[in-house]
Symmetry: D2
């Protein structure tokens, strides 16, 4: 370990006008989470440049309320994602923004009793008015669709319909861009979100056969010989993705996770990627990096890094 010529830690210098890709690259010479930001960006770049690699992004946490909707959409539009596995909340908030409703910059110190009286829901330091749910309900009521559709197909249908129906920002919709790029969306806990509740309440008789989506996802995983996984925030999307790799002969050849959770309490969200090797979820030879960082800080950096490299902004350096 100590005999293989470890590299010196760079005492990184920052210069005015450094672009993001340049700054992130410099961090590769450091230690702690700065180094991991750079390593994670590099692994993501390798995934993106490897034409044979199926890129799965998993999404947990209130990313859309926190302002990450367009960032995630641009990951998709730029071809950096082939399959999306997400919580229902991110889909719900994506539709809400498409309908012209907005999340508001609030404060985590707000008086929640007063917010309740004003019909305002708090997500840490972000507010969302109750009217958003009413607008969502109207939209859902007006949808006409085949009640036999599996969820993965319904979400694709929703992406197609959104432009026609939604008066808000559709261009940066995650669901819309997944539809346009042919990226299937899996949402294993779909009944755990406002979109799911409204569909159930307003389209009585609708069935939601989750075994269909599970089957489709595991079948897909079975065929992926080269899989890169980008895990944002843990939760069910992480576990569902890893489970498919566990039950298939394949395992991730590259893996990046960004989370604030840690291994010690034993939950899967904070579990190390090394642990995933024991399960056959991550390949023993896979490049894998965990960044302990709020995803809202890492995601913009990672996207900017990928776009800069794609754009050739780093050329000649």
């Amino acid at each position: 370990m100590t005999g293989d010529n470890p590299k010196h830690v760079d005492q990184v210098k920052v210069t005015p006008g450094d672009g993001i890709a340049k700054l992130v690259s410099k961090l590769g010479g450091t230690g702690f989470n700065a180094k991991r930001v750079a390593e994670a960006c590099e692994v993501l770049h390798d995934m993106v440049c490897d034409a044979d690699c199926t890129k799965i992004m998993t999404l947990a946490g209130a990313m859309v309320p926190a302002g990450m909707r367009a960032i995630i959409s641009d990951f998709i539009s730029n071809g950096f994602v082939d399959v999306l596995v997400t919580t229902g909340a991110n889909l719900t908030h994506d539709v809400i923004e498409a309908l012209g409703c907005h999340h508001l910059q609030g404060s985590q110190a707000a008086d929640d009793r007063s917010l309740l009286e004003h019909g305002t829901n708090r997500i840490y330091d972000v507010f969302m008015p109750n009217e958003s749910y009413e607008t969502l309900e109207d939209f859902i009521q007006d949808l006409i669709f085949d009640k036999e559709m599996p969820l993965v197909d319904f979400l694709d249908f929703l992406g197609r319909e959104m432009e026609r129906l939604a008066p808000g920002n559709v261009q940066d919709s995650i669901i819309r861009n997944c539809h346009l790029k042919g990226v299937p969306i899996f949402c294993p806990a779909f009944t755990d979100c406002g979109l799911g509740v409204q569909l159930m309440l307003n389209h009585r008789g609708l069935k939601l056969d989750m075994f269909h989506d599970l089957d489709r996802f595991i079948t897909m995983a079975w065929d992926m010989e080269n899989v890169g996984v980008f895990i944002v925030g843990g939760g069910v999307p992480k576990n569902f993705t890893f489970q498919a790799l566990q039950f298939s002969p394949n395992s991730a050849t590259r893996a990046v996770q960004v989370t604030m959770d840690r291994p010690e309490p034993g939950g899967l969200s904070g579990a190390s990627l090394d642990e995933a090797i024991s399960w056959g979820k991550v390949n023993p030879d896979a490049a894998h990096v965990t960044v302990v960082c709020d995803a809202t800080i890492f995601l913009p950096l990672a996207l900017a890094y990928l776009l800069d490299l794609q754009d050739g902004s780093m050329d000649g350096e």
Copy 2:
């Protein structure tokens, strides 16, 4: 604030032979998380003593692999839980123990590549041999049941069948004890667990209509006028439960959560119970306590506290 005669912080004294209930009660006079352990136990005790209170327990994290199976079962057997909302993993591991398989005390520093070669899966410092999944598969294959059953009914059926079929420890099974006590089990992300995968793979044609369970759960929530919520570890079970309270006219009158997650990254697992007030999930007048603690430490203390009080061990003190 400072004018309303705040209590002195007790410099708590511990004496040999203190029972758990006595020690926990003493902590009520302190500060930080020690105080919250005591407050949380008190709120749980109030819930248990209030005959009109519907008690929902939500369960996330690998509680069964960590040795909390009998503790959770005893919460149920003793009538401290009326409804269980859980991740699929805890159900899967519960069945695995019922089938006579065991989780093993391992080390988080184990070499995961070597574990992979030995067919051993790691969950932080706990190991689980691959054979457990094979045993689970055999059990699932042999099950004969009505393919139209909603999940909540299937889980009750499983509790009934377990005694007949499983050669291992059935007595402390969470699923079994829920069946015996008439406690319905909701598992909103059931496709995200080994039990779900095995059912799908071995009973082709089986449907899993999750809208049925959602409907059942929201209808139940609609009728609960007095709800106490005990949240272990966040995740989908926490959100699913709170979502039902949000969409019903009711809100929790008492709430306890134990978690290592924190509010700052904005995810629901770490969200404060105050935030839940703004959504109408927790009543503005509810007694509510968050304990920042590994659930494996808190759960045994809380159960011992409740049993001690029930047993009258604190009498005369």
Copy 3:
């Protein structure tokens, strides 16, 4: 690794009337932090029972405001500590309680602007009135002592004087009990506390030669052939203790740390005890356990465990 017959994870059962030692022992059969609570208590017990072992306790975090003063005092009175290394704050708050002032049970949600107006200082959910500092100042002003005394001797002198001078609870004073038991107190960042500030302001010309205490501590460490370290909360006390072991030929033969910090951000407070092995601070063969838990929860459990075993409460079980 998997061939050496790992133990089954016990699905621990709690019974009414379990004492703390019994409950903690049961947790030894589980996983995650529950298991570590038991392992840590065992290592502490081994330290206490080993007559040749010098037991160093390091103390960071606002333990006295949080109500842990008598617990820590009883660790000392019972002979469970031979050397104390602490932050100045715990000494300051110890004197304040000895002077008859109290910390108050408050709320972390208090309005800090209003507290400021009321002369009340907040420590998370504990309040301390400004008068405490005034009382402290009066006490300090009245002290008559040799201005040449090294800090470690001054703190011993303070322990002797406290009974004579302080009208409050002296019996449970950490400083007092250290004096009575001949336990030296080292406080490497003594200027970083109210006691230090008041001494400097009220006894002009007083010197505080910290090299003296460093020399004394390193010399002591040089002579300790068998050292057990109990680290509560990291910080300077942890580093100062480990530094002495690094610069001496000895290293800890047993080590327990309880902290909420984690290794990933690279700070020493959260550094693993394995890392300390590379430095020669902890012996490669040492029994060592890190419990990720609020110290206010662990300390009462650990003391109760040790007292129960000492008392023989576990006899015949």
Copy 4:
């Protein structure tokens, strides 16, 4: 609260070639820690642009081993810091780099027993060979200085001597640049570092009167009418700085802290800046922001932001 027209959350768009200042500014429209990164950078910029503001930087955590030495130096060289309060470790590692020794990029998964045998010390994922300490000892032995010097003067002297004596990278030395810019360095726990130990061991008879530095620091704080505090990582440097503001009539008019610690366990490192208002450490009207982020990620972003703005890279946008 909800009536004062809260701003919409921006769904931030990243474009190729975005400079750091531009990206960070965009994050100001989001939520969670992304928003706080932007707010913190803005407050730092305001501090830097306010000629009347005394800017105190406090430094904890192994920032130099992690590769942040030149970044911190550039904060100083660019006039972004007027007073530095730091742990001794950062000074020790700064000297070590000045002496031509290096920290190495290692792995947190290294075998610590093997590292011990190879004389390599681990700091999370960074390695430091034992020879560094030997080189440090030689350097310290050769120093000739007035043994009556207070620590703050000794550290200034060290900055002056470093160029003459040290063969390594002196240009980016924190101590050297503080000397050049007239920035005093306070190190309240100086006996808690290798530099302190080597001085004590090699210059017998040397006194380290820490009351002198405390007096100097409190006197300085007494005269600062407009104080901005930038807290990196908590610990003694944070507390020592706030203590001086508590005991002086002044309080911070601007405050930024970046830390991975949280308030719940009650330690000062994770204490909120609101709590500091109750103590009179932070002004009730102060702009103050806490970023929950590894400092190794935040520091490069913050420096790049300040340099970009200084450079006018944002002009015309």
